[in-house]
Symmetry: D3
Subunit: 131 residues, 6 copies
């Protein structure tokens, strides 16, 4: 259960409805997922977040699939269940193969282990990385 009501499409005020319609048309989907329905309690923030998401996650110098993997990596480390599920699904939709996902998970595990060891031993940063 969310701490806020999820704003259903049929109950959405015009300002929210406009964003919902834009999400559906740009993504080619016919329903709005819960993240937006929760955000919609703050219509101005909803519109702004949707703008940011399009601006940031689209094709640029990095591939959209790569961006999704970076997004999932952050979400795993922050332990955001919703974000892990929705963006792993988004990565698959953008073409993530099983082989790539296996490699992704191996990097996640390696980095988490290295992070813990380095932090435990307080390894000083080498001079070469500081220029």
């Amino acid at each position: 259960v969310a701490t806020v009501p999820l704003i259903a499409e049929e109950a959405a005020p015009a300002e929210v409805k406009a964003v919902y319609d834009d999400i559906k048309s740009r993504r080619g989907v016919d329903r709005i997922n819960n993240f937006w329905k929760a955000l919609a309690n703050d219509p101005a923030n909803l519109a702004r977040f949707w703008e940011d998401m399009q601006r940031v996650m689209g094709k640029g110098a990095l591939d959209p699939l790569v961006k999704e993997l970076i997004y999932v990596a952050v979400s795993i480390t922050n332990n955001c269940e919703y974000c892990i599920h929705s963006h792993t699904a988004a990565a698959r939709q953008r073409g993530l193969t099983d082989e790539q996902y296996r490699e992704f998970l191996a990097v996640i595990g390696l980095a988490a282990r290295a992070n813990a060891l380095v932090t435990a031993m307080k390894v000083p940063v080498d001079q070469q990385y500081l220029v």
Copy 2:
């Protein structure tokens, strides 16, 4: 200051020296960075970690640059200063451009914000992501 001595190359026992030499030859560098010198207090673990790193971070279904970015994403979220510095440097060595880094940072910021909002509102996972 580290919580363990950093094992200098000239003081390394044979088992450690062999790993150091392998790192230098495979990476084409002439010095060992502090991470390995700290790990070297446990020679068996050093050898195993170096094996894992080669196995995991090399070219596969994902590009080595992409793997570095995923590694940095985890390290930022875990706030591991050493790892951020060393793997951002590694990503640059693997060809990360300024434009790509800007986009990377924008994804990091967006994911962190979304993670916090979703966690705050306890948004329930949509059924569609659970199949």
Copy 3:
């Protein structure tokens, strides 16, 4: 399922019962929530935590509602589901309005984003903040 039994009111030893009664009378509620029932496996710790909670969360130089919001901010960032639910509810009971909650969430999102960006870029602390 908890890793410890939840100590029901009718099964509580006298030492625990006394704390339960104090919680109910001071809070004006007629049932004990699960946090205390789990803590009650360590009666001394239960009594001490309840003392701390009253001492810390009551009216002082900061308003109790403000204290709840700070508590929720920590709980979100630590991703403690129980704590988010129970203290968001407590904040509402202390008068949190929808408008205030919207603003609270916006701050949470902004701070999380800024934290990630600053950590990613290892921005050095300005001299002016170090005096």
Copy 4:
């Protein structure tokens, strides 16, 4: 040392300069702190973040001082050194007293302890919080 160059005021392109000038005039300060100088490597993101910060952190249904405390609470839990220093300073500038800061710290400590205990014991959320 940051992973990006800090864009000095005199070296800033027009787009960045405009934001710097706005920051200085609205805040009544005569220098730009490092956060903005790091963000300025991505001028579009700099402008957008500055807009967000004004929109979110200003006076609303919550007091600006309360917003700073929420911001610092997130930053402490994320362990963002820069953010802790800069926003604790900002809170003091907005009138935070020593007494209020003492109470703030006590809440931070209490919440962190409760979060850890609840997570350790996996306390199930009471039904009453789920409506």
Copy 5:
């Protein structure tokens, strides 16, 4: 629901089956828990992780029960629900008493509180700890 299929024992390829059999025989259990069934999507990683787990968690200079408690302490702080449940159970199997668990939880709570306070106040490390 996991993001990968859980590889059932009867559907496991030979390479995975061999690890499953080793787990069952060394642990004296007759079923494989979900962690291994998820890892089994990457058979090489499965084998390697099982090797690491035996090497790391067995009797050495530290007692296996102590190792489990350290493992649980990390898992609590990372908020890994599965890991908390499975390794608290493992600790109990290795003889953890209720009294020990109470003391363990008290240390967890104290450390989390101290960590938050120290991070909030940015307490400088004493010279004596840096030699």
Copy 6:
């Protein structure tokens, strides 16, 4: 630089001085480390934390060295530099050997890796752990 003044022994009010003296006499040391000098800005909290620390960290069903290792495990995962340094030092003082520390670090690394993998794949908790 701390966000609060460190209260020197010679400047401490009587209430703080009494705690300082107790720390020095019980620990057999002749100086107070910075953690207490920072906490001392809130004398009531200082006294209470010192009480808690003695109550929690002393000999009980768990050995004081084991308690220090659990404390360090939490501090590493929370990335609290001060706490890692001071409690790793405390563990050494309580007899931690190099061999034990190596094993401790191996457990830390293994748990961090497993936590990340399990969280990434959202492995469902086995029924057997939920009773």
